[in-house]
């Protein structure tokens, strides 16, 4: 009953307004989304067309696929892409951690608000602040290693960001630390809105903590977790520039150990003054991100369908 009223409300409001504007009603939702669509088309459409044009030119002259060939054969570009790919391994870790944190917060009876804020805090901290703090903290003779040495576990005192073999993993650890708050809040919000009857019924049937959350809670959270996974995958492919730039002073070092595709694009455009190569790499990155965006829309569609089916 409640659902049908909400649905009715949702559709009657535009209809009433549509009546005021007469014929607009007949053309459906188009007039309502047109201004926003035009803005998006103007901003993104123009940029994408310009990007495509630039990627086929050199200093204004048509060069065909030459830029693509140069970018694809660039070992640094391939290294950057491989680093983005490696960062994708952080996504399942994030999903599991977020789910676990959300469940623990859900089950917490006292101080939930405090713990929730504590988990969410890293997410709202500006990335430059995180970069500077971790940059200092993780120096070979920084606070973390000093503490480890004081505890007698010197073997664990590594050059976290200065050793090429582990710099990327350190970076992904910092990204996980920051991004897990978003996932936790997202999953927790959905968790709170789940019907309690199901959980109670499972408990009465004798389901323990692990069985309850793995067999009852988790399946119900599937849409939101999938959304989070896709969102974080997009982050890892095209949203980690800030971390790398701040923590490595824009170098992607040591060596090229932390260069990611966005840094490659930025350096090509603004340091190496090769806007055409930057445009080409950006176009390739856009295509890669598009795969995730399509996946995101599909999941969103399925999730919406699931909600309406409830």
């Amino acid at each position: 009953m409640i659902k049908s009223l909400q649905t009715e409300d949702r559709f009657t409001a535009p209809r009433n307004l549509g009546a005021v504007f007469g014929r607009l009603d007949k053309s459906g939702p188009l007039p309502w989304i047109l201004p926003a669509a035009m803005c998006i088309l103007l901003i993104f459409g123009y940029s994408i067309i310009d990007l495509v044009q630039q990627s086929f030119k050199y200093r204004g002259e048509w060069v065909g696929f030459e830029n693509f060939s140069l970018v694809v054969t660039d070992p640094l570009f391939r290294t950057a892409i491989s680093h983005n790919f490696l960062l994708l391994f952080a996504v399942p870790v994030l999903a599991v951690l977020s789910f676990m944190c959300a469940v623990l917060l859900f089950e917490t009876r006292k101080g939930m608000k405090f713990y929730r804020s504590a988990v969410f805090l890293p997410y709202i901290l500006p990335i430059p602040v995180i970069g500077v703090v971790f940059g200092q903290l993780l120096q070979l003779n920084g606070a973390l290693n000093s503490a480890l040495r004081a505890m007698g576990i010197e073997n664990l005192a590594l050059d976290w960001l200065g050793e090429p073999g582990q710099a990327l993993w350190t970076m992904s650890g910092i990204i996980i630390w920051k991004e897990v708050g978003f996932g936790t809040i997202l999953i927790l919000a959905r968790l709170i809105s789940l019907p309690l009857e199901t959980l109670e019924a499972a408990r009465i049937d004798g389901a323990g903590f692990f069985r309850l959350h793995s067999k009852v809670t988790l399946p119900q959270l599937k849409p939101v977790i999938l959304f989070y996974i896709i969102n974080e995958a997009i982050v890892m492919v095209s949203w980690v520039f800030n971390y790398v730039y701040v923590m490595t002073n824009g170098q992607g070092g040591p060596g090229n150990a932390t260069v990611v595709s966005e840094l490659y694009i930025y350096r090509s455009a603004f340091q190496n003054k090769s806007p055409e190569l930057a445009a080409t790499a950006a176009l390739l990155l856009l295509l890669a991100t598009l795969i995730f965006i399509i996946g995101f829309f599909k999941i969103q569609k399925n999730a919406n369908r699931g909600l309406f089916d409830e």
């Binding site: 200093r59 120096q139 200065g162 090429p164 170098q251 350096r267 806007p275």
Partner: protein, 455 residues
């Protein structure tokens, strides 16, 4: 009294007209000749309407006091030209090049822009982003600007105006730290490695450095690599492909760098410290030597007591003409192509080279203004005096003669890896050569521009 005929009068008038014409022609020719390269700045009336200039600059990082000097200079210029307002924006080290690149792409931004010397000033000129200062400042004035013709000229034009000289880059040594272990200041490479061996056995780094932000790699390339070349033309030859970066004269310095790693010369956290952070180790007495920016060297020496510090060139290993010598480069200011007040900008640049401004620069920063009219007799500090003199017939500063991308992508990165022990010097040289070959393909005008520059 003789009567003058009409013909004679006519002849006289013609002669007079010819003489006036000749004089005017001579005058015009001389004016156009002297001002040919300066776009008749002096002959053009200075604008009386309100003018606002924006200047993006850098330099307080290596010449502390530069900000105070610039504030003074802007105030003094306001007194001289009340209708001109100059807004100054201090840039970060990482932001300097990208911020200008973004401004140039939008053709909107500063009227006056700071550039490091050499390629950092050449490239914006090649890309049409700056107007040659020689089009706005008379040659008679520009000839006094130190390093203007060595690093900044291109096909008869001079891109940017040198501001201050950067003796590049002195090593500062602490006598107290060395003498504690019965060591003296090393002058040769062998002596340096010996110092490294003795000090590393005691857990003390002989040299303090930080390569996390990359810049120190470029310094090391210049002060170690400069010892085996015969001229800056060698470097340009390797850039355009007539020599190779794997040739001994270009590659041996990588092996020397590897030796410093093998002899544990550096602080163990060199890869996790930034350039300026690492220099602090020297000030704190935790390292025997470090490398500093030329303008800042006297401040470092004074921080530990001038009698306790030695300012010198990198210990000698090579047999080239520049071995044991310090490099010399001038940091510069250019006028942007899109500036609507180029002549006013040039007028301000010339103002900064007036005697009072040169003296105030020295007073505020203790470093050397890039002008040979600077009165050196006021420099009493022996460290500064020696430093300034070393910069006048200085060695070429190599980093300024290679493409900036080669510097960041091959030098910065490979120095990090060699000092980390994950790459050999030989592999680093090969990587530098490979990247150079690639750059010749990606920057289709590179060979042509560098070839023209070297002529």
């Amino acid at each position: 009294m003789r009567l003058i005929s009409h013909r004679e009068v006519h002849m006289k008038i013609r002669k007079k007209a010819f003489a006036v014409g000749c004089a005017a022609a001579v005058l015009l020719t001389s004016i156009s000749f002297t001002g040919a390269t300066a776009s008749n700045t002096s002959s053009r009336a200075f604008p009386s309407k309100a003018v606002t200039l924006t200047m993006w600059w850098w330099g307080d990082q290596e010449a502390p006091g530069a900000k105070l000097w610039l504030d003074d200079a802007v105030k003094a210029y306001k007194k001289k030209r009340p209708n001109v307002t100059i807004n100054t924006v201090l840039q970060t080290t990482e932001g300097l090049v990208p911020a200008f690149a973004a401004a140039a792409a939008a053709k909107k931004g500063p009227d006056l822009q700071y550039f490091w010397g050499g390629i950092y000033a050449q490239q914006p000129g090649w890309d049409g982003q700056i107007s040659p200062v020689s089009d706005h400042i008379p040659a008679s004035e520009l000839k006094h600007y130190i390093n203007a013709t060595t690093e900044l000229s291109f096909q008869g034009k001079i891109w940017t105006a040198p501001w201050y000289v950067n003796p590049s880059f002195p090593v500062v040594a602490r006598k107290d730290v060395l003498s504690k272990y019965k060591l003296t200041v090393p002058k040769t490479w062998t002596e340096l490695l010996n110092v490294c061996d003795v000090l590393s056995a005691q857990g003390v780094p002989a040299l303090a450095g930080g390569v996390k932000d990359g810049w120190f790699g470029g310094w090391l390339y210049s002060i170690i690599g400069g010892q085996s070349i015969t001229s800056s033309k060698d470097v340009v030859a390797a850039v355009v492909g007539t020599q190779k970066f794997t040739d001994a004269k270009h590659a041996d310095w990588w092996t020397r760098l590897q030796e410093t790693q093998e002899h544990k010369c550096w602080n163990s956290d060199i890869n996790s410290l930034e350039l300026y952070q690492a220099q602090q180790l020297w000030k704190d007495g935790k390292a025997a030597m470090t490398v500093v920016a030329g303008p800042d060297a006297p401040n470092f020496a004074n921080a530990v007591g001038a009698s306790n510090a030695v300012v010198m060139a990198m210990p000698k290993w090579g047999k080239g003409p520049f071995a044991g010598k310090m490099g010399s480069t001038s940091q510069t200011i250019g006028i942007t192509q899109w500036s609507k007040n180029k002549d006013v900008a040039a007028d301000f640049l010339m103002f900064t080279h007036e005697k009072a401004q040169l003296n105030n620069w020295y007073k505020r920063t203790g470093s050397m203004p890039a002008d040979d009219r600077f009165d050196m007799s006021q420099v009493k500090d022996p460290i500064k005096k020696a430093l300034f003199q070393s910069a006048l017939p200085g060695a070429p500063y190599l980093e300024n003669f290679i493409p900036a991308q080669l510097d960041t992508d091959a030098v910065f990165t490979n120095v990090q890896l060699v000092l980390n022990g994950t790459k050999t010097g030989k592999a680093a040289a090969a990587d530098m050569q490979t990247l150079m070959e690639r750059l010749r393909k990606t920057d289709r005008n590179l060979v042509s521009n560098f070839t023209k520059w070297s002529k």
